[in-house]
Symmetry: C2
Subunit: 350 residues, 2 copies
């Protein structure tokens, strides 16, 4: 694996239908990224069984046996002590420098806990965050934090803005991403103190140029911002509200068409229109939440993802590694001294 | 107006197209509630002009001239000092006992500030809340707080549960509403401290029977709970995320059909299916956020509502007044001593 190629570490045992789905996703990702190599951790007997369906994988994968598996109900405090799980070993490969990113469909809390312990937080970052790429009306945006930190202070939020900014530049290719703080009003004095304080910090920093202030949740789907920053509780509530509503409408549409005799006749006419929407809004295409702020990249695939979904998560990891994501965040933080800015604002405010 | 009929006070000057829309809504509401009387506050010249279109209104309305209007950009601290606005006078009619509820499409912050000042918070309630009735897959639910209180403690949340419970019983006719706290995980230890504390309080109270624990935002649209309780920041984020996503999908569907030559042919077949969805999900039918926890009821119509929407807001006010909503909340709070429960739990926890 030391032939100079980019290497991604894969936990083959996470998710609802592992290792089958994981290997299907791996096969898809490998096909699209012939220059990438993979380290695959898991129960070798099961993994080899799946590999038989995709013989091409043998050339680009190195298999490593892990005796144990992290389960969904396992507590973070337990999993960080068990070095024999496929998840632990897949992350540890990044720590050892054998791989540049890890992808797992396993337990989110466990993946975060082990990643934090093994990869450590980037020196100037206080808290890592969970980020996703999401679709809006006219393109894509990144939103963070999606649940790593239930409560955040202003410095945390400003750090998320720095990381989101780098992510939008690299993963979405937007030269000057519009950065916004998620809030419940557009006026200067609205919302929580930490949000107002973070706004002041960002305005004082070099991000000022790209900062558009507050964004309200109903504006997010219409592309007002490319980077949406929130604490992990709020971001998670927004994300799950969006997901739930989309699922509700999908099920109501299906139900309404099903119950209407006439609508069934109209359905074939709708084929291309439906395909157009599914092409931009298909949740599979947005699979892969990234843990950022660590010395290395962990990508969490949805546990219920299918092969296509898992391949998208691997694709996210590859894109960010290619763009030198972690190093760029380190550089950005060298340029922007958030601690100093925070102190200055603190003196100003109190 | 003292003939024993139920009286609703109406601010004719709030909202985007007042007083036209307000009077249209009033006409609709009056038609459906022939036994209700209305006190209408506003610029009499303009209001009389609109009344000409609905002569039947003259029999059930009393018009009162207000010289001034609350504007959208007015600050709560200003509006509470100006007794000459239609909003102030409409609320004051409830304080004086001339009307039992007030409906306005004006500035939310102003309506809350004046309502709090004039109607005062119910003795055992610490903070009033904003509630809405919302559609889910199989019916309706109530969610609160939607933005009156950016930060809440456990007692506030438990009080919201009491009020939401009464509201679901009375406005939705559910005998034993399922009560849940909005959180980002289902496990006991997830989320913020005040949410976990509130859960303990509710379990200790007589609401225990109907309490189903935590609800995650993506479960809300599928009817898992009839009462969804959150702090005002979180509730507002959830509400606006739901609204934004629904709007996004609506606009994408329209766009996709518009761009597909074939889909236009299919459209007529979809008529009844679309009508079925619009019948349950039409946002107009869910207009009218209620301010609860005050000695009297204030209902806020969306500023951009049309006549049908405004009539729904009036309808909400009428339903709750008929059910003696304020008195029932007072009774419930007599039965459930939240302060005492909170103290007990506090001693237990620390």
């Amino acid at each position: 694996m030391s032939d100079g190629n980019l290497v991604i570490s894969v936990d083959a045992m996470g998710g609802d239908n592992s290792p089958r789905i994981v290997i299907e996703g791996l096969a898809l990702a490998a096909k699209h990224n012939p220059d990438v190599r993979f380290l695959v951790f898991g129960d070798m007997e099961k993994v080899r069984g799946e590999f038989k369906k995709f013989p091409a994988l043998n050339k680009v994968c190195e298999l490593r046996h892990s005796a144990e598996v992290v389960h969904n109900e396992d507590k973070p405090s337990q999993v960080i002590r068990n070095k024999n799980t496929s998840m632990y070993q897949a992350i540890d490969a990044v720590r050892k420098g054998e791989a540049e990113a890890v992808v797992s469909a396993g337990n989110t809390g466990a993946l975060m806990a082990i990643s934090k312990m093994l990869l450590k937080t980037i020196q100037k970052i206080h808290r890592p965050a969970i980020v996703s790429i999401m679709p809006h009306r006219y393109g894509k945006y990144v939103m963070l934090d999606l649940g790593a930190n239930t409560e955040c202070n202003a410095v945390n939020l400003a750090e998320f803005a720095v990381m989101g900014n780098v992510l939008a530049k690299h993963a979405l290719g937007i030269e000057h991403p519009k950065i916004a703080l998620l809030n419940i009003g557009a006026e200067e004095m609205k919302g929580k103190e930490e949000i107002r304080h973070a706004a002041k910090m960002i305005r004082t920093s070099t991000m000022d140029m790209d900062f558009i202030g507050y964004i309200e949740p109903h504006e997010v789907p219409f592309g007002k911002a490319d980077v949406v920053v929130a604490d992990g509780f709020t971001g998670n509530v927004a994300l799950k509200s969006i997901e739930g509503t989309a699922k509700l409408i999908r099920s109501m549409l299906k139900d309404a068409v099903h119950k209407s005799f006439l609508a069934k006749f109209g359905l074939p006419f709708m084929y291309f229109a439906a395909k157009r929407i599914s092409k931009t809004m298909n949740p599979k295409l947005y699979n892969g939440a990234m843990f950022v702020g660590l010395n290395g990249l962990s990508v969490k695939s949805h546990g219920g993802a299918d092969g296509l979904g898992f391949s998208v998560a691997i694709g996210n990891a590859i894109t960010l590694v290619r763009q030198n994501f972690v190093a760029t965040i380190r550089d950005e933080l060298e340029r922007i001294d958030l601690e100093e800015i925070s102190q200055d604002i603190y003196y100003e405010l109190y």
